[in-house]
């Protein structure tokens, strides 16, 4: 689906959403009630220092408004921008800052929903889609940490061998289905059904703590993460000196 088709499907009541230089910004009316802020990264744009800073500024403006309305983050990006300039300027701080303001918005009462409708990879994926409260995707979305040819180079394994291994586990190979099974994507929407209703259903879910590791365990894609994290919490709490002495 194109971005325009997606926006029409999501917001039949219309909105004012613009795409400038690959960045999405605006507001729309939800089919049910009330407004929603829309922002994002489109056209497979790589996420560099300038884009991350602009997106973060927009999120901060939304938080300042104090309206506690939901935020939809649309994602069709490349990876982080790989350049000498971006790293010279401290890209890690810009990407982390974007993730931090999205988490702040959530803490300030804005439900944040990520909609992955195209590509996204590595640092760009972490700083955008994976920093939202609920990440949903449309069929055809293609998240990746690294593409298989690059992975073949780094792991020094032939690509056919990698492809064969990818059949046996969702844990390393790129792709939407693998990201669903490992718990990163909450749900894949039905492109043939009204998107507005599917967005309303996501917004109607009560807010909850990070449940991705638990989803990964339930779906069989990441069997150990939740259990290991829980055990560490239990050990840390039970061995805390003050809990032992009182």
């Amino acid at each position: 689906m194109t971005l325009d088709e997606i926006l029409i499907g999501l917001f039949p009541n219309g909105g004012d959403i613009r795409v400038t230089g690959g960045l999405v910004a605006g507001t729309a009316m939800l089919a049910g009630e009330g407004p929603i802020h829309v922002l994002g990264i489109a056209q497979e744009l790589p996420l560099g220092v300038d884009e991350a800073c602009a997106l973060a500024q927009r999120v901060i403006e939304i938080i300042r408004s104090g309206d506690r309305t939901p935020i939809l983050l649309l994602v069709d990006s490349s990876s982080q921008r790989m350049s000498r300039r971006d790293e010279l300027l401290g890209l890690n701080e810009y990407l982390a800052h974007l993730a931090k303001v999205l988490l702040l918005a959530e803490a300030a009462g804005h439900r944040t929903v990520g909609l992955l409708y195209g590509g996204s990879a590595a640092g760009a994926f972490i700083a955008t889609a994976l920093a939202t409260h609920t990440l949903v995707a449309l069929p055809g979305a293609h998240p990746a940490v690294m593409d298989l040819p690059s992975m073949a180079r780094v792991t020094k394994l032939p690509i056919d061998v990698l492809k064969a291994k990818a059949e046996t586990t969702p844990v390393f190979a790129p792709g939407l289905d693998n990201m669903v099974r490992t718990g990163g994507v909450h749900i894949v929407w039905d492109a043939g059904a009204p998107l507005a209703a599917q967005l309303a259903a996501v917004l109607a879910r009560p807010a909850r703590r990070d449940e991705r590791d638990r989803l990964g365990a339930e779906r069989g894609g990441r069997r150990k993460a939740a259990e290991i994290a829980d055990r560490v919490v239990a050990i840390a709490v039970n061995s805390h000196p003050e809990s032992q002495h009182g």
Partner: protein, 305 residues
């Protein structure tokens, strides 16, 4: 100086293992490991690639005392899979940070990582996202999370994004922070964009001195375990706020950096712009001289991180 620190004062942080770093960092004998190697919690995924496992999956976590105060600690082992984040490795850190929020106990993360472990890339990527969220939730509960960076593997990829969520960062000259590593940029964009064999370029673009000068790290130390220990004790004494004002200040700080340095081509130009005399000498300066020459000139990130 106490006997315990005197004994380890000459230990190079860069050369040390994760366990040596923890031993040298905390008050003598105070470290208690969680989910240690005897539990044999190894990666279930490396066997698919016929790769050896390690019983701690390349990260040591636990609790110790630092200058008398209880802290939670995590140390990555850069010599195992480049310190990369896999499912178990990442979940150990996620659990530690969730515990920190519950217990209101400060955390030290001893980074030494190339980023996500490709053999379990999806699990590693999600672990990074979970850890970042756990860091932020701990900080919102009043916990300080301090990163120490000076290991052989640097602090790359997703590790550098986690570093960007920490309340303060201690770095040595050998510490490197970068999302894309030199080889990754060169492979994807060509040697004209970044020559990964030009080590001087790598150090001045991603290394500890440059990060310290632009406000990407807060405390600059010698490559010695005793120096990291002293800096960690000092960092723990400063309570860092974390709220909307912090992020508004960070936004301003990062915008200002783009305005001031966005058109510069090289770190030396940036150092010149902030008013450092003889900026080409910066890479060769010993720590005390470096700190003396850059005092009151570097960009700081106090209360804006």
């Amino acid at each position: 100086m106490t006997a315990s620190t005197a004994k380890t004062s000459s230990l190079s942080w860069y050369e040390a293992s994760a366990r040596q770093r923890i031993d040298a960092l905390v008050d003598a004998g105070s470290f208690q490991e969680f989910l240690g190697p005897e539990q044999r919690e190894t990666s279930p995924h490396l066997a698919i690639f016929d790769l050896p496992q390690q019983f701690d999956d390349g990260i040591v976590i636990g609790r110790g005392r630092l200058g008398g105060s209880l802290v939670l600690l995590a140390a990555q082992e850069g010599r195992f899979m480049g310190g990369a984040f896999g499912e178990v490795h990442g979940a150990k850190l996620t659990g530690l940070l969730r515990a920190a929020r519950k217990l209101k106990q400060n955390v030290l993360i001893l980074f030494d990582t190339g980023g996500v472990r490709l053999q379990e890339a999806n699990a590693g990527e999600l672990a990074i996202a979970e850890i970042m969220r756990a860091v932020i939730e701990a900080r919102r509960a009043g916990v300080d999370v301090i990163g120490l960076i000076g290991g052989r593997a640097g602090c790359y990829g997703g590790g550098s994004l986690i570093a960007g969520t920490c309340s303060s960062l201690i770095i040595s000259e050998q510490g490197r922070i970068s999302v894309s590593g030199p080889e990754v940029i060169e492979t994807n964009k060509g040697v004209e964009e970044f020559d990964s064999r030009d080590r001087a370029l790598v150090w001045r673009t991603m290394g500890g001195k440059h990060r310290y000068l632009i406000g990407g790290a807060d405390i600059f130390v010698d490559d010695a375990a005793s120096a990291f220990r002293q800096a960690a004790i000092e960092a723990l004494e400063i309570k860092r706020q974390y709220d909307r004002a912090t992020l508004e200040a960070e936004q301003k700080r990062l915008e200002r950096r783009l305005q001031r340095f966005g058109k510069t081509a090289d770190a030396v130009e940036i150092w010149q712009t902030i008013g450092i005399d003889e900026p080409t000498e910066i890479p060769g300066l010993p720590t005390d001289e470096f700190l003396r020459r850059t005092a009151n000139k570097r960009e700081d990130a106090d209360d804006a991180r």
